[in-house]
């Protein structure tokens, strides 16, 4: 029996660390990873809530499908995968022209 | 059964499996050298012991005793981590593989599977995503190869590991998709369930064809896809780009020596075993086989394990046989083969199978 808030706090901490990474890291790839970290944090709270609703669903409440929390995780993963594919391709393309992975040097927002 | 006996049984099973597995690996190397030798019209190892049967032991001792040298300019931590990762991941995947149904020793019935346990009601409860765990673990195993190549800071290694990771990522798709047909037919992800769903005979049009109810027959295409993809996953000929001796000295483990190299070596063979086990579990009915009534009770109890071992042996032999027979692909051909042939074929297989399953309700 773990309080739900623990999971939420964990997810919040991971998310904040991801944001910090995004803010402080220079390497595009690392920044990308911080994004993935944030997504994972969100996933965690999704799954936690899915389990939570499974046990705490108020009687007569039918609008909430507890399991949908886990299904959302799939969609998040799909988006993450697509994002990773395209993003890494972009990174490679940028690297080809700019010869650097430092976002501070890639601030023209173009190849 | 209570927790204590459970833990004891688990420990015993783990020790047993690891021992058997490592011995099996060792003697697979021996078998391989023998068979290859015969194929190439040589003798293979003969010196150490009768028929060179002690050769693996000697190799092991050599590996352990040789100096474990650590080159300069390598990324130390990762350099050390990589082989461990590879071996551990390959071993973990054994944990979910059932070798047989159950066995009762001194009144304690336990499942012939590390991750399997008997609930108090006597029902066997398997971890019900075993197949996915195997896939996940093997996909983690890629890191071992990749990091080895990266950390050992040498162009051959890097190229080898690049090839390896690209190849593994590519063929994982086909591998996973080739198994979907099985899942559709068995309706479960638990390996034990899959094996159970292959008991009995095929019933065609109401009357019993005495063909065993194995999934190889409906899933012949899936089987071949699985086999090819699995060979690529394990970096075996004809897909052994990563360690192509003739091109990249030894691929990703060029810089490795002694025990670390041995770890990679063992990891590869354990992976071969895993593949063989999976193939026999998913397509060849696992431990199912003809009942031999004349055997003593203990023999009766171990018979399924025997059948299973035979099937696994067959696949190991097939590995060796193919290695002795086929040449190596070219890298671009390999990729093209994976993406442009295997993947579409697997998808078509899934579609057709799902239609058939839906049609038969």
């Amino acid at each position: 029996m773990v309080p739900l808030s623990w999971y939420l706090i964990l997810s919040a901490v991971l998310f904040s660390l991801g944001v910090l990474g995004f803010l402080l890291k220079r390497n595009i790839i690392t920044i990308f990873m911080s994004i993935e970290l944030m997504l994972n944090a969100v996933n965690l709270s999704f799954v936690a809530f899915a389990n939570f609703w499974n046990t705490h669903l108020p009687p007569g409440q039918t609008s909430i499908i507890p399991l949908s929390g886990q299904v959302f995780v799939f969609f998040v993963m799909v988006v993450a995968a697509a994002e990773a594919a395209v993003g890494l391709a972009i990174i490679i393309a940028v690297f080809r022209t700019r010869e650097t992975l430092n976002v501070d040097r890639v601030n023209l927002l173009k190849l | 059964m209570d927790t204590k006996t459970f833990i004891i049984a688990a420990v015993i099973k783990i020790a047993l499996v690891v021992f058997i597995m490592l011995t099996g690996v060792a003697y697979t190397t021996w078998l391989e050298r023998k068979v290859i030798g015969r194929i190439q019209n040589r003798w293979g190892p003969t010196r150490v012991g009768p028929f060179g049967l002690l050769q693996p032991l000697a190799d092991g001792i050599k590996f352990i005793l040789k100096e474990d040298l650590l080159p300069d300019y390598v990324h130390k931590g990762l350099f050390i981590l990589a082989p461990m990762l590879a071996l551990v991941m390959s071993l973990i995947s054994i944990a979910v593989i059932p070798f047989g149904e159950t066995i009762t020793i001194a009144g304690h019935t336990t499942a012939l599977q590390i991750s399997g346990m008997i609930s108090s009601k006597g029902a066997i409860s398997d971890i019900n995503i075993g197949l996915l765990i195997i896939l996940g673990v093997t996909s983690i195993g890629v890191y071992g190869v990749a990091l080895a190549g990266w950390s050992s800071n040498s162009k051959y290694s890097l190229l080898g590991s690049l090839r390896a990771s690209a190849q593994m990522i590519s063929y994982e798709l086909s591998l996973g998709l080739s198994l979907v047909g099985i899942l559709l037919l068995s309706g479960s992800l638990s390996l034990r369930e899959i094996v159970f769903s292959q008991s009995g005979h095929w019933i065609v049009g109401g009357h019993d064809t005495h063909i065993p109810h194995w999934f190889i027959f409906p899933q012949i295409v899936g089987f071949f896809i699985y086999l090819l993809a699995a060979y690529a996953e394990t970096n075996r000929i004809p897909f052994d780009m990563p360690e192509a001796e003739t091109e990249l000295v030894a691929g990703y483990h060029t810089e490795y020596s002694s025990m670390k190299f041995a770890m990679f070596f063992m990891a590869e063979y354990v992976n071969m075993f895993t593949v063989a086990c999976l193939a026999s579990l998913l397509f060849f009915g696992g431990w199912h086989g003809p009942h031999l009534a004349f055997l003593p009770p203990l023999g009766q109890a171990l018979l399924p394990v025997l059948w299973f071992a035979l099937k696994v042996f067959f696949f190991i032999f097939l590995y060796i046989w193919i290695r002795g027979t086929l040449p190596r692909f070219r890298y671009d051909q390999l990729m093209a083969f994976g993406w442009k042939f295997l993947l579409p074929l697997a998808i078509a297989n899934i579609i057709i199978t799902s239609f058939i399953v839906a049609w038969r309700g």
Binding site: L10, S16, I29, M33, N51, F52, V71, A89 | W150
Partner: protein
């Protein structure tokens, strides 16, 4: 069920440690590996939550595919340790305080009034079973599912086009 809490604390600690390591490491590949650690332990936490299928998918897709892709790219571009440039003072003097406020508020809220929420347990093993998820995914969420498949297709094509060299 104390062991549950213990496991959670252990894996949660590993998660946070990995995430922090992702920040402090200067070499991208170390960051990538620590992220893999985070994901793996997250998968175990999912198991604690009884979401075994999600856990497996987490391992396969995230740790096994996406992160391998990252590592692959890092190796391909042979990215070195990141250089310390004075890029955006905005990020430092606006973003970090904002983020801290954000995290602080959320944390304060959860610590202060999170107890009012109930707790989660390892529920009946039938929950989160693959069948249910599949039914949900292919019945109730069919349209989003198909749309995401289209999204994936587009992503693949985009990656191919981007990866193609000019000339």
């Amino acid at each position: 069920m104390i062991i549950h809490q213990v496991l959670f604390i252990v894996f949660g600690f590993i998660c946070v440690a990995g995430a922090v390591n992702l920040l402090v490491q200067r070499h991208p590949i170390n960051s990538a590996l620590s992220l893999v650690v985070v994901m793996a332990s997250l998968a175990l936490i999912y198991l604690l939550l009884g979401a075994e299928f999600v856990a497996a998918i987490q391992v396969i897709v995230y740790a096994g595919a996406i992160m391998v892709l990252f590592v692959f790219v890092i190796m391909l571009l042979n990215a070195g340790a990141e250089e310390r440039t004075r890029g955006s003072s905005v990020a430092l003097f606006v973003g970090v305080p904002g983020m801290i406020v954000l995290a602080g508020t959320v944390g304060w809220l959860l610590v202060h009034s999170g107890g009012q929420l109930g707790g989660v347990t390892i529920s009946s093993s039938s929950f989160g079973e693959t069948h249910q998820i599949a039914r949900l995914l292919f019945k109730d969420f069919l349209l989003p599912f198909e749309i995401t498949s289209v999204l994936i297709l587009i992503a693949i094509m985009g990656a191919v086009v981007l990866g193609k060299r000019e000339n």
